[in-house]
């Protein structure tokens, strides 16, 4: 199923990407080619095949999660050390509520 430029715009919006016109044109062509290729999977009948949920498949292993014990955190100073715009112990961002 061919992908349209309109769909590329919609996906970009879902993925929080602001593409240039040139990128939109390019991705429309490239994604169409990749999607046409992956549709190869439809040649296979998978009616009774369960989806693979976990890649490790170690029957002997115990994947039980660790006990829920409070450990040491990073602390706010370290957690903010890489922030582009820290302010008073917070991550500062532009206006959240948009008009309209």
């Amino acid at each position: 199923m061919p992908i349209t430029k309109r769909e590329v715009e919609k996906i970009a919006e879902l993925a929080h990407l602001e593409l240039t016109e040139e990128e939109k044109e390019q991705f429309t062509v490239q994604l169409a080619a990749i999607i046409a290729y992956v549709e190869k999977l439809n040649e296979l009948d998978t009616t009774d095949v369960p989806p693979m949920a976990h890649a490790g498949r170690d029957e002997r292993a115990d994947y039980a999660q660790r006990d829920d014990v409070v450990g040491e955190g990073l602390g706010s100073e370290l957690a903010l050390a890489n922030a582009p715009d820290p302010a008073r112990g917070y991550f500062r961002v532009p206006k959240v509520i948009e008009e309209g």
């Binding site: 996906i11 990407l17 994604l31 693979m52 949920a53 170690d58 002997r60 999660q65 890489n82």
Partner: protein, 485 residues
């Protein structure tokens, strides 16, 4: 002390004999990086001062009579998508150009506890997405064997650094072949462990159900040594296995008699370069000469692996890379007036073309109306691929084939055609989808003097079998060529 061809055992022999010091080896390594890396581009950060400080500390420990630890004094290079405390970790992306991790990845922590010296961070494809290392935001890596060719990706800097003796061992990450492909293209050893064998804590996530950290080394024995250190359960990664970690080095007894080596005909089909085919077959005959039994096996779903992989990996990537939004770390676009605009502009300016392409594809296959047709379908095909291996391993102990259909290709050769680039991973992707371990070892050179890699696969958690066979081959037929540097 000669650092060309230096391995862990030779370094330790020299340290025991008092023929060298950790500091001397560290200095020589840094000098070699300084001399050669401007052309190669293997490193994004060289940890010069801290490496020398630590080398002196290790020398003092040794002078006080402390015994050698498994990796004492070993200069290790770490792929730049693996977190190193206090040392810039960029994932070769503009969006993390200034990121300083507040913690070490568990694998790094274990290397340091074993006495290793962190010599630097290596270049890679942005967020490990690529097969040629041409997707790095900070420049290409050149293949030490031929400067006009790619080193393979995505751990291209790690492969090139080991091949050029800019370190003794390196860590890479392997989501669809990113340790094994550069190992094959650069003429070194690359091991992808079983999914869950090595903790992924601190490995920047790309495709979480496929990612594994693995060593790139000059010998199989060194791969065994590094794996022994980094493998094992980590409470910080719930997918890490508590399956016991054997002494991999002790398993290397040179014995291969009676091992059943499966040859899947699907790995020798159209698209395989004739020279690669011939060299890999020669190696298979050599395995037979050493006493292995050669068995025909089938992996009938091989032709669907790339389609399956590029749905699952991109779906996981689109979710994993949602975190890069300019809020908590990394790059932020300036001048946006709303939060949403800031997200979009940050991501558009911060990510390179291949990363955007994969986020787009992953978002598409997960979006309403397409989830069942693409993502769910791919998970079912993944089950079929895993069954292929299960059935094949009922008839053999190891599966053998080429690591890549070609030798290292030319820089720029595949950058215009993403799909052609994806097809370089045809033989490596299967192991990630099935979660099994695989290793690439160099077995010969092409007429043009480029390395050719052979790949072995084993059952889940049977790295010891894998390493033992690879080691037996290496001992009988050592790969003694070095790149013309």
């Amino acid at each position: 002390m000669e650092i060309i061809g230096l391995t862990i055992d030779r370094l330790h022999e020299a340290l025991r004999a008092g023929a060298t010091s950790v500091t001397e080896v560290c200095q020589r390594t840094l000098e070699r990086i300084e001399a050669l890396d401007p052309q190669l581009g293997a490193f994004l950060t060289v940890n010069r001062d801290e490496a020398l400080r630590r080398a002196e500390e290790l020398d003092r420990d040794l002078a006080r009579g402390e015994p050698l630890r498994p990796l004492t004094g070993v200069p290790v290079a770490i792929k730049d998508n693996i977190c190193t405390k206090g040392l810039r970790t960029t994932c070769a992306s503009k969006i993390l150009h200034n990121f300083i991790p507040p913690y070490n990845a568990t694998a790094v922590e274990r290397l340091l506890e074993a006495g290793a010296i962190l010599i630097g961070k290596t270049n890679c494809d942005e967020f490990a997405m690529g097969s040629s290392n041409e997707n790095s935001a900070f420049g290409i890596v050149r293949n030490p064997w031929d400067a006009e060719r790619v080193p393979g990706g995505s751990s291209g800097g790690s492969g090139a650094a080991v091949a050029a003796d800019l370190c003794v061992v390196a860590l890479g990450s392997d989501t669809g072949g990113s340790v094994r492909l550069p190992a094959a293209f650069c003429g070194v050893v690359g091991l992808k462990p079983t999914y869950g064998r090595v903790s992924r804590y601190g490995l920047v996530a790309y495709g979480s159900s496929l990612d594994q950290i693995g060593p790139i080394t000059k010998t199989v024995a060194d791969a065994a040594r590094v794996l022994r250190v980094i493998a094992g359960r980590d409470p910080r990664d719930s997918t890490s296995s508590n399956h016991p970690v054997p002494d991999y080095l002790a398993a290397l007894d040179g014995e291969i008699k009676g091992v059943r080596l499966g040859v899947p005909r699907e790995y020798f089909g159209p698209g395989l370069d004739e020279e690669v085919r011939a060299v890999v077959w020669q190696a298979i005959h050599r395995f037979a000469d050493l006493g292995a039994e050669i068995v025909d096996v089938r992996l009938p779903h091989t032709e669907y692996a790339i389609a399956c992989y590029y749905i699952i990996a991109t779906a996981e990537a689109s979710s994993n890379l949602a975190r890069y939004d300019g809020v908590r770390y990394g790059y932020r676009a300036q001048g946006a007036t709303t939060l949403r605009e800031m997200y979009r502009r940050t991501r558009n300016e911060g990510f390179g073309a291949e990363v955007k392409r994969r986020i787009m594809l992953g978002t598409y296959v997960l979006s309403a109306g397409y989830y069942d047709a693409y993502y769910l379908k791919a998970l079912k095909v993944r089950t079929l691929i895993e069954r292929d291996f299960r059935e094949a391993f009922a008839r053999c102990d190891l599966i053998v084939g080429p690591t890549s259909p070609t030798v290292a290709f030319r820089l720029g050769e595949k950058t215009e055609d993403p799909l052609a680039m994806y097809l370089s991973d045809i033989y490596t992707i299967m192991a990630n989808l099935a979660g099994i371990p695989a290793i690439s070892i160099p077995v010969g050179l092409s007429r043009e003097g480029l390395p050719i890699g052979l790949q072995l696969h084993a059952r889940h958690f049977e790295e010891a079998t894998l390493l033992r066979a690879a080691h037996a081959y290496e001992r009988a037929f050592p790969f003694s060529h070095k790149p013309p540097l």
